[in-house]
Symmetry: C2
Subunit: 194 residues, 2 copies
């Protein structure tokens, strides 16, 4: 009884799902995997690989979820327009992460998003996203994580860290088979019985 | 005279250089490029691709710096042990980002690092870093950005965002040829004459 399960992810009233647009199989496999794992580790509830399929990524992400716990929805191949339409039909809002949007540091955009208290579909793209992404037909907000070119992976990480106010990094994951015990030096894990 | 240059990056008393260990040419090219661009965009002052060379990454990063401004040192091929030894000899400290370290959210590790007020070499690795990285011969601190597996790119981004307290995302870059003007919709840039 000593090795009790870790506490569950803090329940949030808001659900965040990440939609990754523009993935190129082969070339982007590691990067998109990192984007998906970032979404999971930082307490998003799901990931949509839009408009294409990549079973390697699905396999990696589902394997991580199975070992490290929590509930994380993974889907792929969904056309981005349909995902956006269905999200909005359910009352959710769409946030597009782009270097061109309103700066999360110098504007009040994060407060405006939070004030709506709605589920978020977070679109992360690549350099060449369709112009429509910026329009109010698609994105309720265009948010920049700084206005320098860097990485959709980093942008997603900082958005989630700020949105959840850091609490996501302290979260335990339900049904974890393995858990890290943080320490000053070395590597320590705890393995739970089924 | 209307298009004056943007303000310079805020000068920090502390210099941060990112050392990327375990890069595999080809397979990791996009991911490592994103790690380097994150370092630059979030106001680290340089990047060391240790123990290997990848001229494609060097070219991409230097091209971005030339267009988007600032001073960003890029080097590659340096053996990691030498980089660490030389860094310490100059009085700097070494921080290793790893899922196994002290949690940046639940511990006081960031305050302890900042209190030293020294230059930082930030080591970002991959899953299989040498065990030595955890020892006090190498790392003064092992820091985890949450204790779930995710991404060195995300971990670096959150570390820098918290270290610089968000100010890095508002920084202007000296000698920029192009700059984004953040806005609610669409893409707007300003191009500066030489």
């Amino acid at each position: 009884m000593e090795d009790s399960k870790p506490i569950q992810q803090p329940s949030s009233t808001r659900q965040i799902v990440v939609l990754r647009w523009g993935h190129r199989p082969q070339r982007d496999v590691r990067l998109t995997t990192h984007v998906a794992l970032t979404a999971r580790a930082l307490c998003a509830s799901g990931f949509i690989l839009s408009d294409t399929e990549d079973p390697h990524i699905q396999e990696t992400v589902n394997k991580i979820t199975k070992s490290w716990g929590g509930t994380f929805h993974f889907e792929m191949g969904t056309p981005w327009k349909r995902a956006v339409r269905e999200w909005k039909a359910k009352g959710g809002i769409v946030v597009h992460l782009t270097a061109y949007g309103e700066n999360i540091q110098t504007s009040d955009i994060l407060n405006r998003i939070k004030a709506l208290n709605k589920d978020l579909l977070l679109i992360v793209g690549s350099q060449k996203v369709p112009g429509e992404f910026y329009s109010d037909q698609i994105s309720d907000f265009n948010v920049s994580i700084g206005n320098q070119p860097h990485s959709e992976c980093s942008a997603l990480a900082i958005f989630l860290d700020r949105f959840f106010e850091g609490k996501e990094l302290a979260a335990g994951f339900d049904k974890a088979k393995i858990e890290i015990i943080p320490q000053e030096r070395g590597k320590k894990t705890k393995v739970y019985d089924e």
